[in-house]
């Protein structure tokens, strides 16, 4: 559908309170753990202590005999009653069950599950389960996993390679030959993730009378119900997922499939509701916890003036033991594979391998953050190589504002942008000249000080077509979002969305757009979350898509409501629709404003006065709208080009850091960010997500890593070992907006949930390398932890 350009806005883009906040500050929110059903039983899981071991036997007799224990279930039993969980790619010899069957494949993999009257007893029972393991040598290093010819994580698969593909878009070799020079760079993105403060939890209740499995889960996932039904072997319409559960953070990871399969299976088997709340140790080692772990080898071809001509990328990603959708995190970044730069051609080799580590799940940006980090390091390397200023090299390569829509070699069309202006706004906000002076003064005083510069894209809107690039059978060309708007007989408006929300303020966004379109104060509009049997199709809040998709669907549904009101009024006022004007619910004749119908009158007719409805109109007053991804719907062309995401937000990050040369500790002392996500629906929400994403990125850059030792033992299961930034590690971020509306969405909005995270790691790395520059050393591995930096500094100083 085509939207009109944004008009005078009353609610959109205005400072307004976020409606979700009231329940959060008063303790009135309903997270999974707050939902209580009578007779609920509590589950606890037994994690594997070994990265790779054969399960010789499991003796659960003592556990089952414990007072208060209902059941102990092992993988061997479960596998006879359910299907393996469907993987993203077709890998039929990799069978993923919620509990390990015959073999454990990572430390923390769940080997058995106990159901008991309370959580304390359930854990008592875990102590009594005796498992006889035969430890085996683990596959730990991803490069070795790739080359390995005998030791396989999944022996039946016959290899540790999950995916290996080569893509070529444009004349790469010609461009390299014609360029003045080229350089190679290895960058490494460490194993980190989003680590929400709420772990994953699920409550499932099978009703024998209705034959419906009710599920409350802290999820953020498209296709959740489909996967759950397929694994349990139930018809899709026998599962009712309740979407009105508050989710305590997710940022991509909360998939919850194996957990929900277990809870659902056990509830049906026991005839009671079953609740599985991950504790932090189960979560960090065996839950949906780990993100991309990636090695990039990049070659860049450039001219002496800093113009980048072409790029060759090899990405090797460590997916861990069970791939899920992990390999696709190599595919989505194809949507912005050249970043915000005019690069004529790209070669991309993508490899996904499995190792004996916790399986990788989607993380904020779905692979885009590591890719952006790699691109930005390459741009900095070109500047360093040529002795040019990093800013100047970016300015020479950024796509110009008059070039939009701009198609990149792999086929995505960047919808709109003004990168130079946003970068300049960021520099102005940072006070770039003073920042340079501050850095140089610090250096003169013997300190290691650096400024970071990163410019990056945030693809938003979602579109599954990247799957097709890896799996040409996957002809999935829609990634829709639906909503329903109901007007009740009193005239009140209710919007029904079909997905959970995990901090993004979707209810506020939905109400704001409905209010804007219908001329009603958004605070007077109720927003509810339908369950999976009653709501319209949703693809969940992934991929920075809800403002784009639900927002546009809301505008579409509001338009239908207005159309219906206009039709009723035209019929009763004896006018043509074209003669009438809608204003805040009242419909009047443009030429004779005294001739009008009120909202109450229209609602009365819709619900009570069939004789006054236009011929053929159904009674009642509601509208449904299902929005298709703008520009989606196509398969790749013969050259393998396809538009993946519709909207592209842009950020410019300028942090300032100092490194303590004696300890290697980095302090981020200042941070300016300029961002453009088109029209902002709610300024506080967008600002919060931009800054929050940025803080998450500082964590990935400096602190956060799921560590393994050489034998595959997991070392980061607690919050004392996996280090998320506290308030002390985050500087006083300053931010500035810019608005280049998207031509594709209802109000010009784009995505905003990921951008801060997609650029901050690159920006901090750029700053650290700038600080190290006087020593003549660089670091291209994240996180840049203090012991690594100290070693680098010490070595440079020892020379």
């Amino acid at each position: 559908m085509k939207f009109e350009p944004a008009r005078n806005l009353h609610y959109v883009a205005q400072k307004r309170r976020v409606r979700e906040d009231l329940r959060f500050v008063t303790g009135g929110a309903k997270f999974v753990q707050d939902i209580a059903l009578p007779g609920t039983q509590h589950a606890a899981v037994l994690p594997s202590p070994y990265p790779r071991a054969r399960i010789l036997s499991i003796d659960a007799a003592a556990a089952e005999a414990l007072d208060g224990v209902q059941l102990v279930l092992t993988g061997a039993q479960l596998a006879t009653d359910c299907n393996p969980i469907r993987l993203g790619l077709k890998l039929p010899e990799i069978r993923w069950y919620p509990l390990a069957v015959d073999m454990t494949r990572y430390v923390g993999e769940w080997v058995a599950i106990v159901v008991a009257d309370d959580a304390y007893i359930a854990e008592d029972a875990l102590d009594l389960i005796e498992v006889d393991y035969e430890p085996l040598e683990a596959v730990v290093d991803p490069e070795e996993a790739f080359a390995e010819t005998e030791r396989f994580v999944h022996p039946d698969h016959g290899s540790n390679v999950l995916y290996h593909g080569n893509f070529l878009w444009g004349p790469v070799e010609d461009d390299f030959a014609a360029a003045d020079g080229s350089l190679g760079l290895r960058t490494r993105w460490g194993r980190s993730a989003t680590v929400p403060i709420e772990t994953f939890g699920v409550l499932a209740s099978w009703n024998r009378g209705t034959e419906i499995l009710d599920v409350w889960a802290s999820i953020q996932m498209p296709n959740f119900v489909e996967l759950l039904a397929a694994t349990l072997g139930y018809p899709l319409n026998s599962i009712r997922l309740h979407q009105d559960v508050d989710v305590g953070g997710s940022y991509g990871v909360k998939r919850g499939i194996k957990q929900s399969v277990l809870a659902g299976y056990l509830s049906r088997r026991l005839g009671n509701p079953v609740r599985l709340i991950e504790d932090r140790l189960w979560n960090m080692a065996g839950g949906d916890a780990h993100g991309p772990d990636r090695i990039f080898d990049t070659e860049v071809a450039f001219n002496n003036d800093g113009v980048i001509r072409s790029i060759k990328i090899r990405a090797l990603d460590d997916a861990g033991a069970y791939p899920g959708r992990a390999p696709f995190q190599l595919a989505k970044p194809i949507s912005a594979l050249v970043g915000p730069y005019r690069i004529n051609s790209v070669k991309y080799e993508a490899i996904s391998v499995c190792t004996n580590k916790t399986g990788q799940v989607p993380v904020r940006g779905f692979g885009q953050a590591p890719t952006n980090y790699m691109i930005e390091m390459a741009v900095d390397a070109v500047a360093r190589h040529l002795g040019l200023d990093r800013l100047e090299v970016r300015r020479r390569n950024l796509i110009q504002s008059h070039e939009f829509p701009y198609q990149i070699p792999p086929g995505s069309e960047y919808d709109s942008g003004d990168y130079q202006t946003v970068l300049q706004k960021g520099l102005d906000l940072a006070g770039y000249d003073q920042l340079l002076a501050r850095r140089d003064k610090a250096r003169a005083a013997g300190r290691l000080a650096g400024i970071g510069i990163a410019t990056n894209l945030e693809p938003g809107g979602g579109n599954n077509i990247f799957e097709y690039l890896m799996d040409p059978g996957a002809e999935i060309t829609t990634f829709m979002e639906g909503c329903e708007v109901r007007v009740d007989p009193q005239g009140n408006i209710t919007g029904i969305m079909g997905t959970t929300t995990s901090g993004q303020g979707h209810e506020t966004m939905f109400a704001t757009i409905l209010g804007e379109e219908l001329g009603v104060d958004p605070d007077d509009i109720r927003i509810v979350h339908g369950d999976s049997l009653s709501a319209l199709p949703t693809r969940s809040p992934i991929a920075s898509r809800m403002a784009i998709m639900l927002g546009s669907a809301a505008a579409g549904a509001a338009g239908k409501i207005k159309d219906r009101a206009l039709a009723i009024a035209a019929h009763n006022l004896d006018r043509e629709v074209e003669d009438l004007e809608y204003s805040s619910g009242t419909i009047s004749d443009r030429n004779d404003p005294s001739r009008k119908m009120t909202w109450e009158e229209i609602c009365f007719i819709a619900y009570r006065a069939y004789h006054k409805l236009p011929d053929g109109m159904e009674p009642g007053f509601q509208a449904q709208f299902i929005y298709q991804v703008p520009g989606g719907g196509k398969l790749p062309d013969d050259d393998g080009r396809v538009g993946i995401y519709p909207c592209f937000s842009f950020q410019a990050h300028i942090p300032y850091v100092e490194i303590d040369p004696g300890t290697g500790r980095v302090s981020v002392l200042d941070y300016a960010i300029a961002h453009d996500c088109g029209t902002v629906i709610n300024p506080d929400i967008v600002r919060g997500m931009v800054i929050g994403g940025l803080a998450h990125g500082i964590g990935a850059a400096l602190y956060e890593k799921f560590c393994y030792d050489d034998e595959g033992q997991f070392l980061s299961a607690t919050f004392a070992d996996y280090l998320m930034p506290s308030v002390h590690e985050i500087p006083d971020v300053r931010d500035v907006e810019h608005c280049t509306p998207s031509p594709l969405t209802s109000h010009g909005q784009k995505g905003s949930g990921e951008g801060g995270y997609l650029g901050a790691p690159a920006a901090i790395a750029s700053a650290v390398n700038d600080a190290l520059a006087p020593l003549g050393v660089t670091i291209h591995e994240l996180p840049m932890r203090m012991h690594d930096l100290e070693a680098l500094i010490n070595e440079a100083n020892s020379k």
Binding site: E123, G662, R665, K705, S716, P725, H728, R785, H787
Partner: protein, 294 residues
């Protein structure tokens, strides 16, 4: 993360505590602030049969100066004194400023509100701040069992990571810090990845300077670079009797490494800990010197 079952005793007196410990066959554990013990219980790394809660033993809490009449005397900090109380204590600030500086690095406001001075000493994490500062202050601990009370210098108290000379039937009663003559300066520096985390490496120093500007007291202790907090006697000996400045201090640090045997984990390797021990030692000594004045 739910603890295994245990019996619970809310003790009202020290006698009650030591009797319970004596009857416990090593299966009884003292619960003070709980900031370390509770996670260990939750993870079932500790599985005591009995937990003796000392939070209501009034005589186990408080800070005072003993033997003040003679002039020197000692500062006594009872074991169940909260870290937050100790941090705010004017007596500690006056008589053991090093300890105040160290406690400021311990955990967070919420954990300091429960965590105790004695709990930190009893746990004996090799990187933790209170044991390190106390060691640098030549402190003693009192240990009480049904058999009586014994005093032990901290140099003899720490045996290794989470291992001390305290017997299973003893409670750590109090920390005793000798009051020092003259003016002394204190320095405390640590590095941790995030503020409030356990230190990776820490250094505590005390310097005394006489009226001629010559160092008459030097104490240097390093945490996080060995199985227990370590005094670096070789360096102290070299500093004593010298007129100190930054050059003099920097020149005397080469022997730190010989006194330490650091381990490695994912937070830092051994080489890092050794190098950083020296860096932090220098900073702590300089801070102490600046405070000592001439």
């Amino acid at each position: 993360m739910k603890p295994a079952k245990f019996e619970y005793l809310r003790a009202e007196s020290i006698d009650q505590v030591v009797q319970a410990l004596d009857q416990g066959d090593g299966e009884t554990i003292v619960l003070a602030g709980g900031q370390t013990l509770m996670p260990m219980l939750a993870m079932r790394l500790a599985r005591p049969a009995m937990v003796v809660d000392i939070n209501h033993v009034a005589e186990l809490s408080g800070v005072e100066i003993l033997n003040e009449v003679e002039g020197d005397g000692e500062l006594v900090i009872m074991a169940c004194t909260r870290q937050a109380e100790a941090l705010a204590s004017p007596l500690i600030q006056e008589h053991a400023p090093l300890l105040s500086k160290a406690i400021a690095f311990v955990g967070h406001r919420q954990t300091r509100n429960r965590g105790t001075v004695g709990g930190s000493l009893a746990h004996a994490d090799p990187a933790s701040e209170i044991p390190l500062a106390a060691l640098a202050l030549d402190a003693w601990v009192s240990l009480r069992s049904v058999a009586g009370t014994r005093r032990l210098p901290l140099a003899d108290y720490f045996h290794g990571p989470m291992m001390t000379a305290r017997a299973e039937n003893e409670i750590l009663l109090s920390l005793h810090i000798p009051r020092a003559p003259g003016t002394r300066g204190a320095g405390f520096h640590e590095v941790s990845e995030r503020r409030g985390d356990f230190a990776v490496v820490a250094a505590a120093a005390v310097i005394g300077v006489d009226e001629r500007g010559v160092c008459d007291h030097a104490a240097l202790a390093i945490g996080g670079a060995d199985g227990r907090p370590r005094r670096i006697g070789a360096v102290e000996d070299k500093l004593r009797g010298q007129r100190l400045d930054s050059v003099a201090i920097a020149g005397q640090l080469s022997e730190i490494g010989a006194a330490l045997a650091p381990g490695a984990d994912q937070h830092a390797g051994a080489a890092y800990r050794l190098r950083v021990a020296r860096v932090l030692a220098e900073r702590a000594l300089l801070e102490a010197l600046a405070e000592a004045g001439p």
